[in-house]
Amino acid sequence: MLSSYLTMAAILFCIGLYGALTKRNAVIVLMSVELMLNSVNLNLVAFSKYGVVPSLTGQIFSLFTISVAAAEVAVGVAILIALFRSRGSANVDEFNEMRR
């Protein structure tokens, strides 16, 4: 039972990671990051129910994660907008003015 949740979460995590590292559109990149964080939530909840030593802590932890993730995305989008203003583009691979 637990293992299936964990596998699920791991898959989600990898998908999120993949998206964050490959998608050109900055918004999608941020969403992929969300996906990663949510996979963690899945982990936590699963553990708090079916873990070795079940406890509520996991669920509380996941609440924290959710809220923090929201804040993170909010800031992210705000910054993205500023960036979009100055570049006129939301393509991640064009955000390379600074290099070497």
């Binding site: 590292l21 490959t22 990149v29 991640v92 691979d93 003015e97 070497r100």
Partner: protein, 622 residues
């Protein structure tokens, strides 16, 4: 009889040293007084050394005194002087010649602007030479040995603006240095092999006197190495090349350093350390053969030279060869005797030559001639010197050379033959020289004028000495006191009658030949040149020794240097650059990661994590 003056023998070198220091300090100012001071210095040492000699002749005991120079742990190196008959005699010879040369130079160098420097150098040389003579141990002797080398170098290069002088000076220093290294190593060997590391001659004498203390092989090695030093200083083959070139120096210097004193130091060294050689027959043979070969070899070259001083230089080399041969034959007496007489007549010859050059301003004998009329004193004194050198009785050279030849005949006929041949050549080239310079009629209108008294007087004095010096040791009963006094045993006198006849005959023959060729012209001068030009050229080019040395040593050293230079630049430096390059290259790679793409940054991180985990945790699950 107890020793009074001998205790003060250490003052002998001090006088010239004082003169040197004075000249060094205030020299620039005193062109007039400087020479006088130097001369007085040498005079002082002459007087004192003469007194010491008299005391020694009076049969005073040998005297030795010294102090510790360096003291390290259990070892000590000392400096000190000792007065023996040998050193007493040498002191007189050296200071006498030095004094005369000083006097002579006052006139000869009159017009040179750096005359005070010249006299300073001469004073320093005198000091060092005397120090060499009275040194009581090998180390101290080595020190002064090097110092006389330095002075010789300075004086050869005295006219520094002449490229030839520069080259000659350099050559002299370096070539003798080669010998000196041998000497140095001999010194090291002795230090570690001598019981309680005593380098004094006395110790050497009694250690090598008794057999078995030091093995045959080591003894020979030490002897040969010491001899190497002597070879360098005394211009023996194969290190003779510097001496003829040294004639670039002022002529009085050639007389003092390169005829009478320094070049004889090699002979003196061997004589001083003779116990070592006696302990090793092999070494003795080496010395004898090298000497003999040098004698004939140099004499043959002398015949073909045109530069008056070079001829004399080669004759010096040849005569030194004689002395070495004598030593090799085991007769210190004969060697020192010849050294003694040779000092006078060769100095005389050089000073005479100097006087000639002073007059005609050339050194090429073919450009001289007929000077006998204009320069009477010079001519006569020169004649005396020449005859003495040619070994015509009753002049000094005859007796000393005779002593050597007698030794040779006594225990080495082959060497005797070589000696005779060399004697013939000697007579020949000396007559050639004399007749070309003084006989005949002036060529190129080079009609000289006699030199001032300050130069001729030394000539006369030396001429007298050249005449009488031989009488101290004549091969007749009761006259051999010199050898007795000097070394404890007289020179060999077996069959001297024969020797005397032969050598005289040979000498006369040589002169006669010379007369036939260069005065009477009965034999055309180019007789030899016509038949075998190669021989003449070979002699003129001094058997191409210089060329060979240049090719073998100079060129190869330069090549090695260049090779090392390349190695240094490319291999050693390259390695360093490589190390630096590695760092920079890593940096480049790291910088290339910074492509501004945040997603690649993330990728690096993930890859890094995976690799890390796989590598480290992976080990466990392997």
């Amino acid at each position: 009889m107890e020793t009074v003056l001998s205790q003060y023998a250490w003052l002998v070198p001090v006088f010239p040293l004082a003169a040197f220091l004075i000249l060094l300090a205030f020299g620039r100012g005193m062109k007039r007084t400087g020479p006088v001071i130097a001369t007085l210095g040498s005079l002082a040492s002459l007087v004192l050394s003469a007194l010491v000699l008299i005391e020694q002749l009076g049969g005073a005991d040998e005297y030795n005194n010294g102090f510790d120079w360096i003291q390290i742990g259990g070892y000590t190196l000392t400096v000190g002087f000792d007065v023996t008959n040998l050193t007493a005699l040498m002191m007189v010879v050296v200071s006498l010649v030095a004094f005369l040369v000083n006097v002579y130079s006052i006139g000869y160098m009159k017009d040179d602007e750096r005359i005070s420097v010249f006299f300073a150098y001469v004073a320093l040389f005198t000091c060092s030479m005397l120090g060499l003579v009275i040194a009581d141990n090998l180390l101290m002797l080595y020190i002064f040995w090097e110092l006389v080398g330095l002075c010789s170098f300075l004086l050869i290069g005295f006219w520094y603006y002449k490229p030839e002088a520069k080259a000659a000076a350099k050559k002299a220093f370096i070539v003798t240095r080669v010998g000196d290294v041998g000497f140095l190593i001999a010194l090291l060997l002795l230090f570690w092999y001598m019981p309680d590391h005593d380098l004094s001659f006395a110790a050497i004498a009694n250690v090598f006197g008794q057999t078995g203390l030091i093995t045959e092989g080591i003894t020979t090695l030490i002897a040969i190495l010491i001899f190497l030093g002597a070879v360098g200083k005394s211009g023996q083959f194969p290190l003779h090349v510097w001496l003829p070139d040294a004639m670039e120096g002022p002529t009085p210097i050639s007389a003092l350093i390169h005829a009478a004193t320094m070049v004889a130091a090699g002979v003196f060294l061997v004589a001083r350390t003779f116990p070592i050689f006696e302990a090793s027959p092999a070494a003795l043979d080496t010395v004898a053969w090298v000497g003999a070969f040098t004698a004939i070899f140099a004499a043959s070259i002398a015949i073909a030279q045109d530069d008056i001083k070079r001829i004399l230089a080669y004759s010096t080399v040849s005569q030194l060869g004689y002395m070495m041969m004598a030593l090799g034959l085991g007769s210190v007496t004969a060697a020192m005797f010849h050294l003694f007489t040779h000092a006078f007549f060769k100095a005389l010859l050089f000073l005479g030559a100097g006087s000639v050059i002073h007059a005609v301003h050339t050194q090429n004998i073919h450009e001289m001639g007929g000077l006998g009329k204009t320069m009477k004193t010079t001519a006569w004194t020169f004649a005396v010197g020449a005859l003495a050198l040619a070994g015509i009785p009753p002049l000094s050279g005859f007796w000393s050379k005779d002593a050597i030849l007698a030794e040779a005949l006594h225990d080495h006929p082959a060497l005797f033959a070589i000696g005779i041949a060399a004697a013939l050549l000697t007579a020949l080239y000396m007559s050639r020289l004399f007749f070309l310079v003084f006989a005949g009629k002036p060529r190129k209108g080079a009609s000289g004028h006699e030199s001032p008294a300050v130069m001729t007087v030394p000539l006369v004095v030396l001429a007298l000495l050249a005449v009488v010096a031989g009488f101290v040791e004549m091969p007749f009963e009761g006259t051999g006191w010199f050898g007795e006094w000097l070394t404890g045993h007289a020179a060999a006198h077996e069959g001297t009658a024969l020797v005397m006849l032969v050598s005289t005959a040979v000498g006369l023959l040589g002169i006669y030949l010379g007369w036939l060729i260069y005065v009477k012209g009965a034999i055309p001068r180019d007789a030899v040149t016509k038949r075998m030009p190669w021989l003449t050229r070979l002699l003129e080019r001094k058997y191409y020794i210089d060329e060979i040395y240049h090719a073998v040593f100079v060129v190869s050293l330069r090549a090695i240097g260049r090779a090392f230079d390349a190695f240094d630049r490319h291999v050693v430096g390259g390695a360093v650059r490589l190390a630096g390059g590695a760092a920079v290259w890593t940096g480049r790679a790291a910088t290339r990661m910074q492509n501004g793409q945040l997603q690649s940054y993330g990728l690096y991180a993930v890859i890094g994590l995976v690799i890390l985990a796989a590598a480290i945790a992976g080990r466990r699950f392997w």
